[in-house]
Subunit: 335 residues, 2 copies
């Protein structure tokens, strides 16, 4: 429901008025008013209208304190990231964001925390025209679950399964920054603000994703690392790929780390970058480069689709880079 009471003690029994106040205060008017929202926060369900000839794209993600973010992470960043990861999924399909629902679980009432969280969520929602239409607030260990809803002309969404042999493989932005920031935080060091922002306030590539419809043959967002996520495209498409690791786009900080350690783990297996990885026929290369420039988002060709299944990484001199050596073990079965 869109305004469930917070409750304590298993399971909830009596209404908690404070909860309604919390929702009224922070979540009833979040994001731009949209004419396709017939009914937003405040009833048993939200009521939404999807235009004709349009598919609805939905994605649901949970971020747990202590697992997906440090418990002392700035609430503004948690608000931003909890929406950003969903918008990144919409981008990976080429869908235009429309609405979100939010389930927020808090150990105790903390209006200052919620206010900052809501501000981070709101700023990103407003930037992408997303209206918060419902949700739930509950008592429990800190976690955030967001469902995003996007719209895409019927049949034009970019799936993981369309990669063809000889397609070029592209990525946006730079790879490994979020993982490097995480390494530094775990080591008790403070990464510089730009690097830290790559971990805590990722930029969903929404404009780019929408623009790639009709050009990209398959697409995914890089949440779990290049090797794993590109692996999903390859598996879904029934193809393989050869990647030139020396072509991977790296920030100066990641490049320095790769050089110092002679190890490609950060850009190949580091998660949380939320860049787009896509395949496209070579004939679209000029159009794609122009599009990246138009979006202000660097795009780089990193390899090519080939018929042999699996992912192979090669260094500039043609040497094969072992996947296990970069922290990615395809056969790990223990979660």
């Amino acid at each position: 429901m869109t305004d469930t009471a917070t409750s304590a003690g298993p399971p909830r029994q009596t209404p908690r008025r404070g909860e309604f106040t919390l929702i009224d205060r922070f979540f009833t008017d979040l994001g731009p008013v949209r004419s396709d929202v017939r009914l937003g926060v405040g009833d048993d369900c939200a009521l939404l209208t999807v235009p004709a000839q349009t598919d609805l794209a939905v994605s649901l993600d949970t971020l747990c304190a202590g697992v997906h973010f440090f418990p002392d992470c700035a609430p503004h960043a948690v608000g931003h990231k909890s929406l950003a990861v969903g918008l990144s999924d919409l981008a990976a399909m080429g869908a235009t964001p429309a609405w979100a629902t939010l389930a927020l679980t808090l150990p105790r009432r903390d209006d200052a925390w919620v206010g900052d969280f809501a501000r981070g969520f709101r700023e990103l929602a407003e930037a992408h025209g997303v209206r918060l239409v419902g949700g739930d607030t509950t008592r429990g260990p800190l976690s955030v679950t967001v469902q995003v809803h996007g719209l895409v002309a019927s049949g034009t969404a970019v799936r993981r399964s369309g990669a063809c042999v000889e397609d070029l493989i592209w990525v946006s932005g730079t790879l490994g920054d979020a993982a490097l920031a995480l390494d530094r935080l775990r080591a008790g060091k403070s990464p510089d603000p730009a690097l830290r922002a790559r971990l805590e306030r990722p930029t969903p590539r929404v404009t780019l994703g929408v623009a790639l419809r009709g050009l990209a043959s398959a697409m995914i967002d890089l949440s779990d690392g290049l090797a794993g996520d590109l692996g999903h495209i390859l598996a879904a498409s029934g193809v393989g790929a050869l990647i030139d690791v020396s072509a991977l786009p790296l920030s100066p900080a990641v490049r320095a780390q790769v050089r110092a350690t002679a190890n490609w783990t950060l850009p190949v297996a580091g998660g949380d970058d939320y860049e787009l990885c896509f395949s496209a026929p070579a004939r679209h290369a000029d159009a794609i480069r122009a599009l990246g420039a138009g979006c202000g988002c660097p795009l780089r060709v990193i390899g090519r689709v080939r018929p042999e299944p699996g992912l192979q990484l090669r260094d500039a001199d043609g040497t094969t880079v072992n996947l296990a050596s970069v922290g990615y073990d395809h056969f790990t079965t223990e979660p």
Copy 2:
């Protein structure tokens, strides 16, 4: 996303293959195949089609272990209830269930638990034609967040705001059973199975809710207790109500408890019944009674809408029942 890897350590970095296996095994083919699902579990987003002249109704709810259910609650019941509470919200709008997404957070991999959970979820999903189209599985304290998606002819959803003076107020089923079962469990007693099922395996009144479109003027499902939830209808509609507590439909167990304690707390303020409460013009009374009989769901008139704001409860002899005396304090602000 629809198949995010489980992760441990803040925040996730490397892909966990076991997670994909978990999703493949339990969640990729849950519920009936539906032609309106263009793309289900296994890509960045699910792709869904909403028919023309139809509104999409959505609701998101979280159940946390230790808050909304006992940590040792049977996983089959948790699976059932996590979908049931959402279907109950759809019922309260008169929407027909279509799809669900599921975010499952688990402290550790436990295939037996997940298998039973999935079975409980699946059985209810199949009973209502609901297809699981996506979700997320993460590592963390046990909790379940489900978004339900329903369809309703444009403009026909039953909102909370339509109650009119002189409308009769109805409830389905019986009230207070879940709260009584909870009281007994909290006291270390074992409620009889039928009573316990009312708490752990609530029946969403989906058929009834859909049938009430065009008859009910306002509707809500009773998750937080009659007084609080009816209060939402009254506030949204700008009206008040007079309820005859002696008319409340009670199971023999709750009736005995009310008599023994001379206290109406259980049926008036007890939560988790997931019955429907609705208002309707008196002229529809016969049609509504017939409809209840057709659905196999008892319906009872418990009072009437009146212009004076607020909720007043009266006993059979006309004595006012104090709301605070039944555990419902309208002015409580602390969640």
